[in-house]
């Protein structure tokens, strides 16, 4: 089962960073020149709601909320793991202080 098929996926917070690295490997740059991740923090755990291209994430998040409406009460966070300069001429500014 791929990571995309496992969504939404709950993992330990201390494993989140390595999970992001795993996402980058499983979703290769040629197929995913842009790569977003959306998640919620629930205590010491992280619930990954969506990953992939922006429009894919939008659809995945809606599906996750349909499956479990209680998730709507939690704020979501997002990360952009990859962005092609040639697409957006977009640059990340981080960390934002």
């Amino acid at each position: 089962m791929t990571l995309l098929e496992e969504l939404p996926k709950e993992i330990e917070e201390n494993q989140f960073h390595s999970f992001l690295e795993k996402i980058k490997v499983e979703l290769p740059v040629d197929e995913y020149p842009e790569l977003f991740v959306h998640y919620q923090k629930i205590g010491q755990r992280v619930l990954v709601l969506a990953m992939g291209k922006s429009n894919q994430c939008a659809e995945q998040m809606v599906k996750a909320f349909e499956k479990n409406p209680a998730l709507k009460t939690q704020k979501s966070n997002s990360l952009m793991l990859r962005a092609p300069k040639t697409k957006f001429l977009l640059r990340r500014i981080f960390p934002c202080q």
Binding site: S54, N55, K75, S76, T86, F88, R91, I93
Partner: protein, 220 residues
């Protein structure tokens, strides 16, 4: 379905029955009847931008607040810079998916997107003193353009001149994209590359002049 762009005084308006934005998590919803609400300045925007140039939809931050979308606190967010020929935008990525419904009264187009929210904007003519060129064709917009673009019928009605009293810039051919106002108290015209025909632009003054090909010129 089609929604036409029509010239109304200085600015083009989106003429359709309504556009609705829905935060899919909080279910906050804003519906705009076009063009009446836009002309009246409701919600502090005077037009809705369906932006193909950056291959992402950028919505004013304050408008996002009306959709229940809060800008993440400093240190908890990453900001993104979009640089295009029209200027430079600083944005944050939406934490929530937003559904957009565009209706012409009989048919409705629905799309769920992850927009960016505009924190600040600097038009290239004043901030950069020159046009920012996009380096190459952007091949990854194929999935997005069919949604972003279809509400707009192609209108080959406009030419643009932008003048600066300080410097004269080299005339260049550009394609015109019509985006006006981001709810930040400023109006601007983005010069995009998404229209099928290029127009010659001359940068010689701060005044932006839009000329209809078939008629007189109107200053912005």
């Amino acid at each position: 379905m089609s929604v036409t762009l029509a010239m109304d005084e200085n600015y083009p308006d989106i003429c359709s029955d309504s556009i609705t934005f829905l935060n899919t998590r909080t279910e906050d919803k804003v519906s705009l009847r076009m063009p009446k609400d836009v002309e009246n300045g409701v919600y502090e925007i005077r037009s809705v931008t369906m932006d193909t140039g950056a291959s992402a939809t950028i919505i004013p931050e304050k408008f996002g607040e009306r959709l229940g979308i809060e800008k993440p606190a400093a240190g908890q967010r990453e900001d993104y810079v979009f640089s295009g020929v029209g200027g430079t935008s600083l944005c944050f990525y939406s934490p929530d998916a937003v559904a957009i419904f565009v209706s012409d009264g009989t048919e409705q187009l629905e799309k769920i997107i992850m927009p960016f929210f505009l924190i600040s904007y600097a038009p290239s003519i004043t901030a950069e003193k020159q046009l920012l060129a996009q380096s190459e064709y952007q091949p990854y917009t194929e999935e997005i353009i069919p949604f972003i673009s279809p509400p707009f019928e192609y209108r080959d009605d406009y030419t643009v001149e932008i003048h600066s009293p300080i410097e004269k810039f080299i005339p260049t051919n550009r394609r015109l994209k019509l985006n006006v106002d981001v709810g930040k108290g400023m109006d601007y015209i983005l010069i995009g590359r998404d229209w099928q025909e290029e127009f010659e632009l001359t940068f010689t003054a701060e005044t932006i002049i839009i000329k209809k090909k078939t008629g007189g010129e109107q200053k912005c």
